[in-house]
């Protein structure tokens, strides 16, 4: 049974290839069956595999073929499965299947139905390869593969140039990170002689001492890849724009799976990061700053998907924080629960959008509680989990992160509580913006009338995800053998209490402001400072403008400046000189015989003079 693990990525891959080759000539039901079915089948294989695996949970390696071999450089096409991989595989195929199923209805009216599923299946295959890879190069293949699929799906509706721009931005910005990561791979191979993850980590442990420059550099470069893919500072700007794609795409790629690849990468190579405690702290700080920044921004958006996008950035910030403070399993746990509730939220948002003529602006919605009950319950449960209200899945994953942050003692002593405070602030904001969303969209007056209700293929996955979001936190992940032992949590009751009560406080605030409208923020937001702050937050801390001015405009400017090929000027100059001399010499051919005779005489005189020089 274990050997059939290669089926897991292969099934969606084959389906994708089949869908591409038939290029839309397949009947729709068959497309749906193939698209969703292949992922479902994969999920089944994962389940069967997992059951067998857990009987004797030893890392399992399967080598398919030798990819390439040049001297020592011999990466293989092989899979490495341990508990971490298994969790990821389960999330990808499980949540992936639900989203595919949902898509079969959501995309039904689209003319490019089969292209959509081809891309989606390809994405699932690439994502599976990413997590199953036994070496970093194969991981990189999956890594770039998901990037490309993300690009294709964000720009799926290609007729609108804005979508194209968003998809390019997504790809290029992540590529910046990917390039750093590629450099990291080069460094790791050059120094350690292998890219196979486990031997490489062993070699790193044997070669390097904690705190060395080289491991720090390598870790930093990998971190570059991670922040790119996971939309963390400073490469987070692409994710909000990436919402241009179909909503299930946002759910699958830009919430549940791909964007967490960075978290997975760091977790996977934690042995390396442990050798670079400073970088690890940097991970935590990046996570913290990002989560706060994104949370503030989310507070100010009115596009339902953008709110969710910023919340995704923010939640991944928590995961980074977890990784940075050494709460590895908590980070992965949060990754999983986040996959559940964020997929739920996105799909819920999708249902709202689907039923409201593609309306994205939350202020044009309202009062949908009774008219779209499925969406309402989904949103309510999803937001509760997102806000980490007690006993939802989000609570079980986020709480340990905050506790671990509090107890952090890494390269800078005493920073832990501050991390904790930041995390709490984030939690407060999370609760506020998520329930702001719920209150505005589902309560109050109705602005737009839904023209349909979600069918079973949409409602089913939503229901299932509701269950997972509520109860997904009740079982513990078997990750103990993968990560180094974490210190047992014995926080004081006070800390625990504060952690629990903060989200509730946030919900209360949101209730007061957005439902009861007792507290008006308009006084503040209408003041000049408030207004500019709002603008500033709304634009995502103006990072886009910054990059635009710092990188994009200069690049475009330089390329416009050079497009006429300045190097050619040199060659044209040579040609010009030749032509000039040609014209001059041609002028001398006057046709006058006397001048010809004279020139001959001059030549003679010159010759005599020259030869006479020596005497």
């Amino acid at each position: 049974m274990l050997q059939t693990v290669w089926l897991i990525p292969l099934l969606p891959f084959l389906s994708a290839v089949l869908l591409m080759v038939t290029a839309g000539r397949m009947p729709r039901p068959l497309v749906a069956m193939l698209g969703a079915g292949s992922v479902g089948l994969s999920a089944v294989v994962v389940l069967l595999f997992g059951m067998q695996f857990m009987q004797a949970p030893e890392p399992y390696t399967l080598t398919l073929w030798s990819w390439m071999r040049v001297g020592d450089f011999a990466p293989q096409f092989s899979f490495y499965i341990d508990q971490l991989t298994l969790v990821m595989m389960a999330v990808i195929t499980g949540v992936g299947f639900l989203i595919h199923l949902y898509s079969t209805e959501f995309m039904e009216e689209d003319s490019d139905y089969s292209r959509y599923f081809a891309y989606m299946n390809m994405f699932v295959a690439a994502m599976l390869i990413l997590v199953m890879a036994d070496n970093l190069l194969l991981l990189f293949l999956g890594w770039e593969g998901v990037g490309v699929c993300s690009y294709l799906l964000v720009g799926f509706w290609y007729k609108d140039p804005a979508n194209g721009a968003a998809s390019r931005k997504a790809f290029v910005v992540t590529r910046v990170g990917d390039t750093a990561m590629a450099l990291g791979l080069l460094l790791l191979f050059t120094e350690l002689g292998t890219l196979q993850i486990q031997p490489m980590l062993d070699a790193a442990n044997n070669t390097w001492v904690s705190g060395d420059t080289l491991p720090a550099l390598a870790a930093l470069l990998l971190l570059g890849g991670a922040v790119g893919k996971s939309a963390q500072l400073p490469l987070h700007t692409w994710l909000p724009d990436a919402m241009a794609g179909p909503t299930p795409v946002s759910a699958l790629i830009h919430a549940a799976t791909m964007v967490t690849a960075g978290v997975y990468l760091i977790a996977r190579t934690h042995g390396l990061f442990l050798l670079a405690p400073d970088v690890l702290l940097l991970v935590a700080l990046i996570g913290l700053v990002t989560l706060l920044l994104a949370a503030f921004t989310a507070l100010n958006q009115h596009d339902i998907k953008r709110i969710l996008a910023y919340s995704t950035i923010s939640q991944i910030g928590y995961m980074f924080l977890a990784l940075g403070v050494g709460a590895w399993s908590s980070g992965i746990f949060h990754l999983m629960t986040h996959a559940f509730f964020k997929a739920l939220l996105f799909l819920g948002a999708g249902a709202v959008i689907h039923c409201l003529h593609h309306e994205h602006n939350i202020f044009k919605m309202g009062g949908l509680r009774s008219r779209l009950p499925v969406a309402f319950w989904s949103f309510l449960i999803g937001s509760a989990a997102l806000a980490a209200l007690p006993f939802t899945s989000g609570f079980f994953s986020k709480d340990p992160i905050l506790i671990s942050a509090f107890e952090y003692h890494g390269s800078i002593a005493g920073i832990g509580p501050w991390l904790w405070v930041g995390g709490l602030l984030g939690a407060l904001l999370t609760a506020i913006y998520s329930f702001r969303l719920v209150f505005i969209v589902f309560f109050g007056e109705a602005n737009t009338e839904p023209d349909r209700q979600p069918g079973w293929r949409m409602a089913g996955p939503l229901t299932l995800l509701c269950v997972l979001s509520l109860f997904g936190g009740w079982f513990a992940l078997p990750l103990a053998s993968v990560f180094p032992a974490e210190s047992a949590h014995h926080p004081s009751m006070l800390i625990e209490g504060i952690s629990i009560s903060i989200p509730l406080l946030g919900v209360l605030v949101a209730w007061l402001v957005y439902y009861q409208r007792k507290v008006s923020v308009s006084r503040f937001t209408d003041s000049p400072t408030g207004n500019s702050l709002r603008q500033y937050w709304h634009s995502g801390w103006a990072m886009d403008d910054l990059y635009d001015n710092l990188l994009v405009k200069p690049f475009v400017g330089v390329s416009t400046l050079l497009r006429g090929e300045p190097v050619d000027k040199v060659y044209n100059g040579i040609v010009g000189v030749c032509q000039l001399v040609h014209r001059g010499l041609s002028e001398s051919q006057t046709g006058k015989m006397r001048w010809y005779a004279t020139s001959m005489v001059f030549g003679l005189i010159a010759l005599i003079t020259f030869l006479g020089w020596g005497i």
Binding site: M68, E144, Y158, L186, L214, F555
Partner: protein
């Protein structure tokens, strides 16, 4: 006799294709295609007679049996010039590439409305013959001969069947390559004379000239002569400016051959001649050469982004990609060299395909200006999908050949010069920028419904499928190619020790 036959078949085939025009104007392309395929199958079938273990032999100068095939004939004894051909793994890989792309080029001209089909196809076949000759010639005089002769039919292809600016473009192409070729000729003759003065016997044979002793200044100049000729052809910054013009103006089949094959002769020359003939001089020069490579990568990418002409964009992307080859060769270690060769092959396919698409677009829309395109996916989804694939290949998508190539080059380079690697790696980002903008401007965006455009037909799709399969194969399992080339690199390493592999960078990074 197999090797001369390979060339002869193409030469005679060209004449045959020309002649066949008498019967019907549709014959020449058919004849040409058959000739190329026949040549390819002839090559492959005669390879079966080579014992399998020979493929792993390190080719040694002294021992003809260590080469896959070889052929010798006295030609001009006055100067010790011989008609000397030999094939090792590197030549084999490149010749197969040449013939496959040659067939594809002929297919790409299938629907183009070219007058004088006969002479057109003849020129294509003669160009191929010249290129095959370049990859086989082991006598420097003979090499030069093929090197120059292949330009003439190529020139005619551009000059006769080119687009609006063909006069300027074809002339520029010819003068750049010819002039740099003259420098190489001088270098070749100087080298032969040095050898003759040392040994008393005239010879232009590569094997005899390999160990010519000379002082370092002379070696530096001679190396430069070879280097410039090859870098012009490659093309490397700042000798690349002929390429965008030539590519833009050439007929589709011409662009395919030019980008897919002809550029590779420059890279081949660098690997086969420049470095082995002048080891010290070349390695001393390596930092500058690599700098040019890096400059080419970035410069080509930046200019590619600024173009609105589809073909020009692809042409500049070639400049950028061939920078990797330059880097790979002058990093001079097994990884980088393998990467350079892989890049030659992979870039051959990806760029040839993109030019074919450009040609198809021009044929359908009568423009190459991307401002007048947009939304073409709607009307030509198959072409769009294929274009997407090759765009992804060209931006270095892992799993496709180009990635393997670029990664190997970077990996090899990193061990030699980490900082340069960092700059070169920026090329991966810029490649994404220009490739995607091309996709956007041509195929995405609002479609113009007033256009009536036909999508790729089955013939074109077959050609595309061949290249897609080739790139996937190179990306997923490049080992056969690597194995073919490895003995060649081992033999080069005998002449020029490879640059140390690992650990060099420690100091540089810290």
């Amino acid at each position: 006799m197999i090797l001369p036959n390979l060339i002869l078949v193409l030469l005679v085939g060209g004449a045959l294709a020309w002649w066949s025009e008498r019967f019907d104007s549709s014959w020449p392309r058919l004849v040409a295609l058959l000739v190329v395929l026949a040549d390819l199958s002839y090559l492959l079938s005669s390879l079966t007679t080579v014992p399998l273990e020979n493929f792993a032999l390190v080719p040694v100068a002294a021992d003809p049996a260590s080469w896959l095939m070889s052929y010798q004939l006295n030609w001009i004894p006055r100067f010790g010039i011989r008609f000397e051909l030999a094939m090792d793994g590197l030549s084999l890989v490149l010749i197969v590439l040449t013939l496959v792309l040659g067939a594809i080029a002929i297919v790409s001209s299938w629907t183009e409305d070219n007058q004088r089909q006969g002479f057109f196809q003849a020129n294509i076949l003669w160009t191929l013959a010249g290129v095959v000759g370049v990859f086989l010639a082991m006598d420097l005089f003979l090499f030069f001969l093929f090197w120059e002769v292949m330009l003439v039919p190529m020139y005619l292809l551009i000059a006769i069947w080119g687009h609006e600016g063909k006069a300027h473009a074809s002339m520029k192409f010819f003068i750049f390559t010819q002039f740099s070729g003259l420098l190489m000729l001088v270098a070749i003759v100087v080298l032969a004379i040095l050898q003759q003065q040392a040994s008393g016997i005239w010879s232009f044979s590569y094997f005899d000239l390999l160990n010519t002793s000379m002082d370092s200044t002379v070696a530096g100049w001679l190396m430069l002569g070879f280097f410039i000729a090859f870098v012009v052809k490659l093309p490397g910054f700042p000798f690349h400016t002929w390429l965008p013009d030539a590519h833009t103006q050439a007929p589709t089949a011409g662009s395919v051959i030019l980008a897919g094959i002809l550029l590779k002769t420059g890279a081949y020359g660098l690997i086969r001649f420049t470095v082995p003939l002048f080891p010290e001089a070349a390695l001393e020069f390596a930092p500058i050469a690599m700098m040019l490579g890096v400059a080419g990568i970035i410069y080509g990418a930046v200019l590619a982004f600024g173009q609105s002409d589809f073909k020009r964009l692809v042409a500049y992307s070639s400049v950028s990609h061939m920078g990797f080859v330059l880097l790979g060769v002058f990093a001079w270690n097994a990884l980088a060299l393998q990467g350079a060769v892989m890049q030659m092959v992979a870039h051959g396919f990806s760029t040839a395909a993109l030019f074919m698409i450009a040609g198809a677009l021009q044929q359908r829309m009568h423009t190459r200006d991307m401002n007048q395109m947009g939304g073409l996916w709607q009307q030509m989804p198959r072409m769009g999908a294929v274009a997407l694939f090759f765009v992804l290949a060209s931006l270095g998508m892992p799993g496709l050949g180009n990635f393997v190539a670029e990664f190997l080059v970077l990996l090899g380079l990193f061990q030699v010069n980490p900082w340069m690697t960092v700059v070169a790696a920026l090329g991966l980002i810029t490649a994404a920028i220009y490739s995607l903008i091309m996709m956007q401007r041509a195929f995405y965006g609002k479609p113009d419904d007033s256009r009536r455009l036909t999508d790729f037909g089955s013939l074109e799709m077959t050609a595309m499928a061949v290249m897609i399969i080739a790139l996937v194969w190179l990306g997923m399992y490049p080992q056969p190619v690597l194995d073919l080339v490895q003995p060649v690199i081992d033999s080069l390493a005998v002449e020029v020790p490879l640059v140390a592999e690992r650990g060099v960078s420690v100091g540089a990074v810290q």
